[in-house]
């Protein structure tokens, strides 16, 4: 990307970039590798799981047309070839994670440094005003290009076609560039780093969900062009290989970065565009540990709740039109019906609930990992130096995590079910069953939240395991069936053990074993937190 301010040189950018890259490379590398593995693995797996033409036709007929899956992956254009399968399975997901990577890089290297005071040291050196933001954007751009190149090489080595892989890898780079721009802008707007990354990730999430909604609904083709992730989809790797939409993405990224620099010129160091209002002189609700836990997550929870309601409304709309989709494609009806239950709409709703459950689990893990972040920021020391017991401190945060995920599932579930029920033509879908299914999905989410509590409480150095739990559950629940994995592998996902409330005899025993895991994980977390040293940076 070209330096946006040509008239005032970006003095000091080069040495700072060098040091920052050196420091950050270790954090960027896993993203580059994992996203590339996502792409390369679909090429490898395709030949292995779907060896002959019959398998591939069946795949195209069932999965490709499943609206629940187009929601996550986008439309499947050609599942009869490996590259087409890769473009479907890795395309939108890879673009999402590439965007996430870029957001984290930009916020970490611009706004977060201001909060920690590190940037003050740097800003006092021989460095131009815009250089720090330029470094953050450059770093994201370098990571974006590195991702594209690495993914291309690895995927082609694994047997991907050169042109489709080139286009696909370029969409990852384009996504990273666009969301680097988004993060550069939110870093100027928000009053602190955490808010800046939440705003940027929220934007990414909204783009992703809107794109999913559009893909799985009956809209005319031009509607896809309304979201940035839709542009990437329009490159259609493996079928049309059209690189032109990438230019649109690049232009958008440059526009955002220019806007960020303009905004930066208008704000003070360490402050957002919105001035901080004075607070209360006395503590109200936040005067005790429970209130504090709620207060610290207040903004996050409000944003997530709006998000869950939105998810429910959008997805409910798709569920309502499921009848028409099935009329067009009987094979998909057979698949949904095979998952059991009284109505096709219900089968679709419970699949959507699983996707929402994974999103809720991501929120829960985010809340629980905040415990560790607070500890590293030395904000836990003064609390525990009072009469506050460690288990109580952990419990306040655990309550927020369990409570927020349950409320999120309920809000999304009720919105989803209500919209689906209002649009259900044949009257076979029951409102009570839909909401009931949302409720029994909650324990599945709680297992993942409890896993995060176990890790943060007992072994915070291994906190990535909490995210691994969410990603594994996602992989097994959404992708697992596409690979015809063995049952015992699929059973690792907690969402496999949820009873189907619409069946004649729901298997409630599944909930018991989930409850067992929740109790065990939570106990490990609490026991570990009592025994270990409180860390600090």
């Amino acid at each position: 990307m070209t330096p946006p301010v040509r008239t005032s040189p970006l003095t000091g950018t080069r040495p700072l970039l060098k040091v920052s890259l050196h420091q950050d490379a270790r954090l960027i590398a896993p993203w580059v590798v994992l996203i590339s593995v996502l792409s390369a693995s679909s090429i490898l797996a395709y030949a292995w799981v779907f060896p002959d033409a019959d398998d591939r036709r069946a795949l195209a007929a069932t999965l490709g047309a499943n609206p629940a899956l187009s929601l996550v992956f986008g439309p499947a254009r050609d599942l009869s070839i490996a590259d087409g399968f890769n473009a479907w399975r890795a395309g939108q997901l890879g673009a999402f994670f590439a965007g996430l990577m870029a957001i984290l890089i930009v916020v970490r290297n611009s706004r977060a440094n201001e909060d920690s005071g590190q940037a003050e040291l740097i800003a006092s050196g021989v460095i131009a005003r815009h250089s720090r933001l330029a470094v953050a954007v450059f770093m994201a751009a370098i990571a974006a290009v590195a991702l594209g190149v690495f993914c291309f090489v690895v995927t082609v080595l694994c047997g991907g076609g050169v042109t489709p892989t080139l286009i696909l890898s370029a969409t990852f780079t384009a996504s990273a560039l666009m969301f680097a721009g988004v993060a550069a802008v939110t870093s100027q707007l928000a009053s602190e780093a955490r808010a800046a990354s939440s705003m940027a990730v929220g934007t990414l999430g909204v783009c992703y969900v809107l794109r999913g909604y559009i893909d799985s609904s009956d809209y005319p083709d031009w509607v896809t062009w309304l979201t940035p992730l839709g542009w990437l989809e329009e490159t259609r790797p493996a079928t049309e290989n059209d690189p032109w939409p990438l230019l649109l993405a690049l232009a958008f990224a440059i526009l955002l970065v220019l806007a960020a620099f303009a905004l930066q010129g208008h704000r003070d160091f360490g402050q957002g565009m919105v001035a901080t209002r004075p607070g209360r002189a006395r503590a109200g609700l936040s005067g005790n540990a429970w209130g504090l836990a709620f207060r610290l997550h207040r903004g996050l929870l409000a944003a997530w709740l709006v998000g869950f309601a939105g998810l429910g409304l959008l997805f409910g709309n798709i569920a309502g039109s499921i009848g028409e989709l099935i009329a067009e494609n009987p094979a998909i009806g057979a698949v949904l019906a095979a998952s059991g239950g009284s109505s096709l709409t219900f089968a679709f709703v419970s699949t959507i609930l699983q996707i929402i459950a994974i999103i809720a689990a991501a929120m829960g893990v985010q809340i629980v990992l905040r415990i560790h972040a607070e500890e590293m920021d030395v904000r836990v020391d003064p609390l525990l130096a009072t009469a506050l017991r460690r288990p109580t401190y952990l419990a306040t945060n655990a309550l927020v995590a369990f409570g927020a995920t349950a409320v999120g599932m309920l809000v999304a579930g009720i919105a989803l079910t209500l919209v689906a029920w209002l649009q259900d033509n044949d009257g076979s879908f029951s409102l009570v069953e839909g909401i009931g299914q949302a409720i029994v999905t909650i324990p599945g989410v709680w297992v993942l939240v409890a896993l995060a509590i176990a890790v943060v409480g007992a072994a915070p150095a291994k906190r990535l395991a909490a995210w691994a739990g969410v990603i594994l559950t996602f992989g097994l629940t959404i992708l697992g069936p596409t690979f015809n994995l063995w049952d015992w592998v699929l059973d690792i996902s907690p969402l496999r053990h949820l009873p189907n409330v619409s069946s004649l005899s729901p298997e409630w025993s599944g909930l018991l074993s989930l409850a067992g895991f929740i109790v065990v994980f939570t106990t490990i977390g609490f026991a570990g937190f009592r025994r270990r040293d409180i860390a600090r940076t």
Binding site: P278, L292, R379, A385, T386, A387, D533, I534
Partner: protein
């Protein structure tokens, strides 16, 4: 306030390792009830680690630690109701105002003297409505000081409490701590500000590389440390003055040297024949004591 006769803090042979790094290596420390105990040492000597063990945040690898008659790891709640803590680097919640943070910490401890709270906010000229991220370093420090001093507790654990305070506020702090001391509170004061420790502390412990290398009243410590002599001489000495150490004579025949307190008479006897026209003998300041301990010659004073 009445005190049980047993010490407020007793630490014997405390060892704490982080991985293979021994942060504390057989540390001994005793703080009597009602005393202000200065806790001194270079950066990284283990002061904060000791304090974090006392607060039950870290679990010792070896040694015994008694705090107000209890076990700091086991009896957390009972002990923490009786103590207050000021960290050296106060990190506040970005979205919480200073006033909210003071109330939160007070409520969690279970004691907050409203009158004291109002008095301290006024004395330290703290704006309690500012949000955590808006405070300067010194103001963040004030929030923690107000929260701690507004509590009705027996023991104050202060870890470099005045870092970042301006000299005016430093004076207010010393004044407030003197009042706390007069009320009979026990205070463990870790600090790098010598004047602060000299003004407040009854006894001092100097820690180095995880061990206490010297402990006692300031007078005790001074008694073990050489006095500084500066004199202007009429004649340049030709033979070595064995009684003096660190002798230095400049071209104006000004002599500086140090001498053990017990040999001050001998020193005078040796210098008188040289015809002194000016003489100052000064006791070791805490700073001298310190530099002696901090520097690598620390071993000889042990």
């Amino acid at each position: 306030m009445t005190h049980s006769p047993e010490p407020a803090i007793v630490i014997e042979g405390l060892t704490k390792r982080f991985g293979s790094f021994p942060a504390l290596d057989g540390l001994d420390l005793t703080v009597a009830p009602g005393e202000v105990h200065g806790f001194l040492g270079p950066n990284g000597a283990g002061k904060s680690t000791t304090i974090r063990v006392l607060l039950g945040l870290l679990r010792p690898n070896a040694g015994t630690v008694r705090l107000l008659g209890g076990d700091p790891w086991r009896d957390v709640v009972a002990l923490h109701r009786r103590l207050a803590y000021v960290p050296g680097d106060v990190v506040l919640w970005p979205g919480l105002s200073g006033g909210e943070a003071i109330d939160l910490l007070g409520n969690l401890r279970g004691s907050l003297d409203e009158r004291r709270r109002a008095h301290l906010i006024e004395r330290f000229e703290l704006d309690p409505t500012k949000k955590g991220r808006q405070y300067s370093k010194g103001n963040r420090q004030k929030v923690a000081i107000v929260a701690a001093l507004a509590a009705d507790v027996e023991l104050l654990i202060l870890d470099e409490p005045t870092s970042g305070l301006d000299p005016l506020m430093e004076a207010v702090f010393q004044d407030e701590i003197a009042k706390e001391k007069a009320q009979g509170r026990t205070i463990l004061l870790s600090s790098h500000i010598m004047s602060e420790v000299e003004a407040l502390a009854d006894r001092v412990s100097i820690i180095r590389a995880g061990r206490v290398v010297q402990t006692g009243t300031l007078d005790d410590l001074r008694g073990q440390t050489r006095l500084t002599i500066s004199a202007t001489l009429s004649h340049v000495p030709h033979e070595r003055l064995d009684v003096l150490h660190d002798v230095h004579v400049d071209e104006h025949r000004r002599l500086t040297a140090t001498v053990e307190p017990a040999r001050i008479n001998d020193a005078m006897a040796a210098l008188t024949p040289l015809g002194m026209t000016a003489l100052t003998v000064s006791p070791a300041s805490l700073e001298d004591l310190f530099l002696r301990q901090y520097g690598d010659t620390g071993g000889e004073a042990r």
